[in-house]
């Protein structure tokens, strides 16, 4: 046995436990666990590690499940954060027990990316997930989320941020889940399915991002909501895609109750969804704080969609930034006259967009409607500073024509600049 002579003395092992934890927390999980073979003092120093992170960088290629088991078994004390992401799971055996174990250890941050390869079905989350009452941040990916029918014992009283990617919901409403998380500030549902109704009743919610399929949406009690992004996908389960609500349009139902929002993003099929039903001349609410409006997939030939757009314009007096991405509606009538007339009339009747500073138009084809729209915008936006045009990539010959037209338009704002980007050249200016 080597004779160990320590010429220096051991300073590190006797530092207070909170410092040791601070040090170990900055190590990848492998290195942290390896400290257990350094000396007797260090044997179980890692076992109280408050954050256990198995991510792509931890480079665990095989026997992941066994390793997680072992780590959790040896661990002592509460676990603040547990992350399992970026690693290929071969099977989901044991995840149930991990969640149960974590729920008993006051977990606050839970990140689970369960992308199971090999064609097996998605993993269904166990009900013990709802026992993790101390959760502040929950991020799940690639599983089935079973929402219990009653809201008894459902909620997370401390949950501030909820991010669900690629989730299949069972139990068609998410309203009771959201309402039982009173402190929820950020809600992100990306690529979800299985929901019909989305009812958002969240008094502390600040940001919501929805990208998935649903039938109805309404915002009930969101006084603090500032950022809203709705990217609705086609709802494929049964019946028609867009429920015609009869008289009242979806626009009012969906966007009512968003009095304090500052940023609104609508994309995918949301515009079509909002355009069903009778579109009012004006919305009942004025969004006094809305500064940025991002509209995707605007089919300029579609009168209903354009009506919705103008309806919005009239309700956003303080709008500063407008970004529109156009889309070609292959089934739409070629007759652009109704739209053109409508637009002219709108701009003549009222003044709006008085504070508009920046406009970005993407993927336009150079159609007459689009150019008319830009012309009317330029003529009616008194403080406009920049207008960026980035046409659709197929537009080549028509591109220079578009430029000529644009240059000809008269501008209400003396400061207005028009920037024309070649396809794919667009940089993110301002």
């Amino acid at each position: 046995m080597k004779t160990v002579t320590s010429s220096g003395c051991d300073r590190i092992s006797y530092l207070p436990i909170n410092i040791i934890e601070n040090i170990l927390v900055n190590l990848p999980i492998k290195d942290a666990v390896r400290t257990s073979i350094l000396s007797t003092e260090w044997r179980y120093k890692w076992a109280t590690l408050p954050k256990i992170v198995f991510d792509y960088e931890s480079r665990i290629k095989s026997k992941l499940i066994k390793i997680v088991h072992q780590v959790l078994l040896i661990h002592v004390g509460y676990i603040k954060k547990f992350e399992l992401s970026g690693l290929a799971l071969r099977s989901c055996s044991g995840i149930d027990k991990w969640i149960l174990f974590l729920s008993r250890n006051a977990i606050e941050e839970l990140i689970l990316h369960i992308d199971v390869g090999g064609g097996g079905g998605k993993y269904t989350l166990p009900s013990s997930l709802f026992h993790c009452k101390q959760l502040r941040y929950l991020e799940l990916r690639g599983c089935i989320f079973r929402i219990p029918p009653t809201s008894k014992g459902l909620g997370f009283n401390h949950l501030k941020r909820l991010r669900l990617y690629n989730i299949t919901f069972v139990g068609s409403t998410i309203g009771c889940l959201i309402s039982s998380c009173p402190l929820l500030e950020i809600l992100e549902l990306d690529d979800f399915n299985g929901l019909t109704d989305i009812e958002v009743d969240a008094p502390n919610l600040i940001l919501i991002y929805l990208c998935g399929s649903f039938r109805r949406i309404c915002f009930k009690n969101c006084p603090l909501l500032v950022n809203v992004a709705i990217y609705k996908c086609g709802y494929s389960i049964g019946g028609s895609n867009y429920i015609d609500q009869g008289r009242r349009s979806n626009l009012i139902k969906a966007l009512g109750g968003l009095a304090r929002i500052e940023e609104l993003k609508l994309g995918n099929e949301t515009m079509k969804f909002l355009a069903t039903g009778n579109i009012p001349r004006k919305l009942p609410h004025i969004y006094n704080h809305l500064r940025r409006l991002y509209l995707d997939c605007i089919t300029f030939c579609n009168l209903k969609v354009i009506s919705v757009v103008f309806c919005l314009f009239k309700s956003v007096p303080k709008l500063q930034r407008l970004e529109i991405s156009a889309q070609l509606d292959k089934g739409a009538p070629r007759d652009m006259e109704p739209v053109l007339e409508f637009m002219e009339e709108q701009f003549h009747s009222g003044c709006f967009l008085n504070e508009l500073q920046v406009v970005k138009m993407r993927y336009i084809y150079g159609m007459r409607v689009e150019l008319e729209f830009l012309k009317l915008l330029l003529a009616n936006a008194p403080v406009l500073e920049t207008m960026c045009i980035a046409p659709e990539s197929e537009v080549t010959a028509a591109g220079s024509n578009m430029c000529k037209e644009l240059l000809r338009f008269c501008r209400a704002s003396p400061k207005a600049k028009i920037l024309y980007f070649e396809p794919y050249e667009e940089s993110d200016e301002d």
Partner: protein, 349 residues
């Protein structure tokens, strides 16, 4: 806020100083804004009003000694200036932590007692960087940690449970070997100090073993000693080292095979045991049993060796499994000559 309070109390003083006293009794004065950067000192000033004069110096916690205090004050002096850019602060931080580990630990401890969280985070991250990616030996050396874990304890963390009869068998082998190790320990303690450096080539040693009957222990020791120096290295190095060091391939490979859950170790098991008695370096391999990739490599080596030996091991394995303990006892109970005989027997193969 309290700066203005101070200004009211002493309007005539252009720059006010705070008096700090460290645990060893020495007192120093420091500019007020620098001292206020430390939450603990700040609170002391506000709550107790101490620090305004030499007699009423604020006593700092015990973990803060004067040299560390000056380091901390340098840190505070730099960072309390509001106008600095993030880049400047970062480069200062990087230079700041370039001190020896002993001082770094003291600094962390002192910063923690003064509740200076940014400095605690900075030093903790620096210490973590010193640990990350290093082997246990390197870490022990950096921080002067005693290597006082027994081999058993080193094996335990994250060892995969023995759900395999071969592994269980192997564990029994290990337990046996540990016992032998302890016995060897008692015998060797004297010899260890004597034979410090043995530059004899392996050939010499082997010929010595084969030639001289008596004193078989000495060459064993030196060979063992050589191996032991490498003991704590990565298992990979150990195995490949042995392969290169020992010109006789067979015994080396057998030794490297020994710790793996292998079929071959059962075959050559008797010979392996005797070898193990002489060449007990393999615990170095076990050190890294934590690393799954390591284990896979060992497994591969084992399989390679099995193929090379080209023996029909399944039957042999059955044989060995069934015969169990008795055969293994044999080499131990034999005297030096007996084990020697076994060794040479192997050579002839």
């Amino acid at each position: 806020m309290s700066e203005s309070e101070m200004a009211i109390i002493k309007p005539e003083v252009m720059k006010s100083y705070i008096w700090l006293q460290t645990a060893d009794g020495s007192i120093q004065q420091v500019e007020e804004e620098v001292a206020m950067f430390c939450p603990m000192i700040c609170r002391e000033i506000i709550q107790t009003g101490m620090g305004s004069s030499k007699n009423y110096a604020i006593s700092l916690p015990q973990r803060v000694n004067p040299s560390i205090l000056s380091l901390i004050l340098d840190y505070c002096r730099f960072h309390q200036v509001p106008g600095r850019s993030n880049k400047e602060r970062k480069s200062f931080d990087e230079k700041f932590i370039r001190i020896d580990t002993k001082r770094l630990c003291e600094l962390t401890s002192a910063a923690d007692s003064l509740q200076l969280k940014p400095l605690v985070d900075l030093t903790s991250r620096a210490l973590a960087r010193m640990i990350e990616g290093k082997t246990p030996e390197e870490i022990r050396e950096t921080f002067h940690l005693p290597d006082d874990l027994t081999e058993e304890e080193k094996l335990e963390p994250l060892r995969n449970t023995a759900d395999d009869p071969r592994i269980r068998l192997l564990n029994r082998l290990y337990a046996r070997k540990r016992k032998e190790l302890k016995e060897r320990e008692k015998l060797k303690n004297v010899e260890v100090e004597e034979e410090h450096v043995d530059e004899r080539s392996v050939d010499d040693l082997l010929s010595f073993i084969n030639g001289g009957d008596g004193d078989s222990k000495v060459p064993k020791t030196s060979k063992h000693k050589k191996k032991n120096r490498r003991r704590k290295d990565q298992a990979k190095d150990v195995s490949s080292d042995n392969v290169s060091k020992n010109h006789k391939k067979d015994p080396a490979d057998l030794s490297s095979v020994e710790p793996s859950p292998s079929k071959t170790s059962k075959i050559q098991e008797a010979a392996v045991d005797s070898l193990a008695a002489k060449v007990e370096f393999d615990d170095g391999d076990i050190d890294d049993e934590l690393d799954p990739a390591m284990k896979e490599e060992l497994d591969r080596e084992v399989e390679d060796f099995a193929r090379r030996l080209n023996s029909d091991w399944p039957e042999r394995m059955q044989e060995i499994l069934s015969s169990g303990q008795e055969r293994r006892h044999a080499p131990i109970s034999m005297n030096g000559n007996g084990s020697l005989r076994r060794y040479t027997g192997l050579e002839r193969r």
